[in-house]
Subunit: 343 residues, 2 copies
């Protein structure tokens, strides 16, 4: 990987706006530490203050209202504290709170057009919305402010109103994001490698057959470049992975490194995320049996703590992976490769 992708020693200031949990690593707890390890000052606005992530089945705490958020944003502006070079937004509870964030993002971009905004449009997954439907238009209106977005497959379909069933519809969805919504860079990090997608991949990008794989795709307006890479799937459910991946993508995005900036950034993020997950997976395997019960909704219903213990055992080993997070060597990542002839 070109050294021009290296992060400078004092890379600047990020504002992270997303959820906070007391226990474990999702939202800001999964995003802020990796950014700090790589030298970024991170300003942190919490959109919720919960006890733990919702996957535990039971969570306590409070959501920030739109007024709560505006009070923080307005005071930061009055106090001349809008000095951020980068903006990262994740889960935001509801359309009103999201509108407050959107107004703030517009203000920051107006004040500092060169600020880099990574927007993770957290709406749902696997065909299911887990936010109210009225956030969808707000996210669509926000897209033109973003430099990088990191939606999942379902979120791409939702934002573009395009069911993706083949290469044509995938191209169409990317076109909507780039051309209608003017998003410079789109990053999809963990796409299940369905048969049609596997067939569509150029042979050079297909995984060595055998283990189950996930596909990472980046699509950039610059040079109309699409890059791809497959990574082996690590079995089981982990939380906060996307939040960590988005933070690492933003951290490693160095505009100065030119056309390949986004594929380089995603290559680093992919390699580090995979390594942290691998470490987390190995740790979970070593836990006592009742902490690593396989997913079984029926049994979980009978004994809620069965699920809770499984979740606890699968919290990211983020702190124990700071050596991984900090790496800057060029060989840290197997680089994403161009998808020749995608368009």
């Amino acid at each position: 990987m070109s050294t021009s992708s290296a992060i400078p020693e004092n890379p600047g200031r990020v504002l992270s706006i997303q959820s906070h949990v007391a226990f474990g690593y999702v939202g800001g707890k999964a995003a802020v530490f990796p950014l700090q390890c790589l030298g970024y000052d991170v300003d942190v606005v919490n959109t919720v203050n919960f006890s733990n992530h919702s996957g535990y089945g039971r969570f306590g705490g409070t959501r920030a209202t739109a007024d709560d958020l505006r009070s923080v944003f307005d005071t930061m502006e009055k106090n001349e504290l809008l000095a951020q070079d980068r903006l990262l937004t994740g889960y935001i509870p509801g359309a009103e709170a999201l509108s407050a964030v959107a107004d703030f993002a517009a203000k920051l971009k107006e004040r500092k057009p060169e600020a880099i905004y990574l927007l993770d449009p957290v709406m749902g997954d696997s065909g299911r919305l887990y936010v109210a439907a009225d956030v969808i238009p707000v996210y669509r209106n926000l897209l033109h402010l973003a430099d990088i977005i990191t939606p999942n497959w379902f979120e791409v379909e939702t934002l573009t109103d395009t069911p993706i069933r083949d290469l044509d519809s995938l191209r169409a969805a990317f076109r909507v994001l780039h051309e209608r919504y003017h998003v410079p860079h789109v990053v999809l990090s963990s796409i299940p490698l369905t048969p049609w997608l596997l067939d569509a991949l150029p042979p050079s990008l297909r995984p060595a057959s055998g283990t189950e794989q996930l596909l990472c795709l980046t699509s950039s307006i610059h040079g109309q470049a699409v890059h791809a890479r497959c990574v082996p799937l690590i079995p089981g459910y982990f939380s906060g992975v996307g939040d960590m991946f988005s933070a690492l993508t933003l951290a490693h995005f160095v505009p100065e490194s030119g056309e390949g900036a986004i594929s380089r950034a995603a290559s680093y993020a992919l390699a580090k995320t995979h390594a942290v997950l691998q470490r987390t997976h190995e740790y979970a395997l070593g836990l006592p049996e009742d902490e690593r019960q396989p997913t079984d909704d029926e049994k979980d219903v009978v004994e809620p703590l069965r699920k809770t213990r499984r979740m606890r055992g699968r919290e990211l080993r983020l702190i124990q992976s700071q050596d991984i997070l900090r790496r800057l060597e060029d060989d840290v990542a197997q680089r994403m490769m161009p998808w020749e002839g995608f368009w």
Copy 2:
């Protein structure tokens, strides 16, 4: 320093309960990152969510109510997430919220008597309370649960109801904390070196005359040991220093290292805090003139942003000091020395 004071590779889990600010480094923002750098998983409960620290003169955001906090604590208990080996509490807004934290601390200690609780009884400074007076009795009732407390001079006087004017009254105050409130370890980090205190110090502990100095004192029930060390005063006002110092003291406290555990921990915390402040001071000196205007209340009243800019320029260079925070070598700290004959 004995290697027995080294922090293990997986030192365990800390629960940090204190204030959160979006911009800058006080409360949890000053405490959590140092603990994480040293390998601790840190669970984080935010007692307030503000835009910036109050020293800016103007701040926005919200305070957590006692109910908000209980909702988080109760859910963590139901979900079996009270797995912390250590507890760190700082600023808590008001007696009701403090009572919620006190109930939680009692529960954690009941469940895990060996858990180490560092209590920073944040009440005021320099003769002025900045919390409501009704928190004082709540803190007194909380003291018996603490293993280490890190009050400032004024907070010692307030908790013990003892004006400290000479060595006798200092001894009396420590006796109240150790004997009436059963606090094992007391750490006072930045005591102005008044003439009577300088005279009371054994010659071996007196600073090389010249630069203005601050005194750090630890007093332990174990072996009735009092240790002291002077450090050069770094001019100007910095925020979050005490929060960072308390976190570092807890991080470096290794009970297995025996009688000297607290003086060793404070030695590390003192050396690292001083080094981070030195770096912050040097950074501030290099800022444009309007970002480093000296304190002048009259001018600040006329132009509020004058104060704001000064505060911004003096935020801790915490992220840029992670090399300092991470150090574990025995020579990192000039060790605190016994105050022979203190009692």
